[in-house]
């Protein structure tokens, strides 16, 4: 019989399913980092201000420091580790690399996940829309300019890639 202080939950993270036994007070961020070893998600302020711990739950960006792991039971989580495919950087990661959208890199996972959600909804955002979408993420190094440029560059790369997909496939 299970100790009532602990709950068993099932999380799908980056496509893989995990069974975890956690205290209800276990933050999603800590479950990802400590229990699953996914340390790409960084914890900055731990009260929802800095955006560093942003992950996607069912495709929507959330602060993983403001959600309990038990609340993600049965849901799909995507972290920064889920962006690259087979060792190949996601276009957003590639663009952050090329435009130098980072210095120390601590805030980068949060920026990437927030920008990922933005491009899912709005593949060709204006600079103003990018700034608004990223307004909840703090970067103390770059001054933001290169981050904005990286997201613009990634949106063009994604648009370019989909434009070159041969027509008639899969129809």
């Amino acid at each position: 019989m299970q100790d009532e202080d602990f709950v068993t939950i099932r999380l799908t993270v980056n496509g893989g399913t995990h069974r975890l036994v956690v205290e209800p007070r276990r933050l999603l961020a800590d479950a990802l980092r400590e229990d699953l070893g996914l340390t790409g998600t960084n914890l900055g302020c731990e009260h929802g201000v800095c955006g560093s711990c942003t992950v996607l739950v069912d495709g929507q960006s959330v602060r993983s420091c403001l959600m309990f792991a038990v609340q993600a039971n049965g849901h799909e989580v995507m972290t920064v580790e889920g962006l690259a495919r087979g060792g190949e950087l996601h276009p957003l990661q590639q663009a952050f690399w090329e435009k130098q959208g980072l210095q120390c890199g601590f805030c980068t996972p949060g920026f990437l996940m927030t920008a990922y959600e933005l491009l899912q909804h709005n593949p060709n955002p204006s600079e103003e829309e990018i700034r608004s979408a990223l307004s909840g993420n703090i970067c103390r190094c770059t001054g933001y300019q290169q981050i904005i440029e990286a997201v613009q560059s990634a949106s063009q790369a994604v648009a370019g890639a989909s434009a070159t997909v041969p027509s008639g496939t899969g129809a």
Partner: protein
Amino acid sequence: MKPPKFRYFAPRSVEEAVALLVEHADEARVLAGGQSLVPLMNMRLAHPDMLVDINGISELAYVRPWDGGLALGAMTRDATLERDTTAAARLPLLVEAAHCVGHPAIRNRSTVGGSIAHADPAAELPAVLLALNAAFEVRSRSGSRTISAQDFFKGYLSTDLKASELLTELRVPGLPSKAGSAFVEFSRREGDYALAGVAAVITLDEDGTIADARLGLCSVGPAPVRPQAAEALLRGQHPGDEAWDAAATAVITGLDNPPSDIHGSADYRRHLASVLTKEALASAAERAERNR
């Protein structure tokens, strides 16, 4: 920073949630979007013995037409309200204000009911719902009661809601088709708590004078503010700078001790309240003129 231990319950229905709250009124807190409560718990400023997580109660998440206006389920996320086409058509002021709540990742979780029940004086929706003459339905074991926004907000983080009650629905009456509305706020960074914010609703008469004016302010006192003296001054006036200046003066005269902190002094908040009142009124009047 880790939250203190608590017992966790995730009811699937309103009945189940109410039963838990009635039984554990002294120790339980309701967990809605968690965007205010969880930071407080992480910092150990709040340490509830028990959480009743209502995120699994799908019957509480809806935006429905109601009596010319809208009925919002308490668990409606701000991100949902922000994109709702019925809300945009009926009460664009709500959509405009929902867009100002926090950042996108906050709005994906934060709920309209949570904002009302938490009653942070800096929050947008309490001030806007006060201006819109909204009423809130709360459920308890003995049934339900409806509380007007005017009676609901009691003071700093304090409302008429009892620990054994669950806020279930926000009812917002519609506006006359000729009304115009606007919400404006000022914050240091987009999405941060506003240093001051103003909601304005203006209805114009056939002759272009102001038939009705309503205002709601956030972040300028211990609770959201409805400056009725300023509203009364505006009725019968012609829209324009003279009327806006008089209303703004009445607004700041009536303010009772705006907060003073590292982000802004009380005087600065009074100044912002004045500037933003004029801006919101001018914008609402312009929209009312277009609807006329």
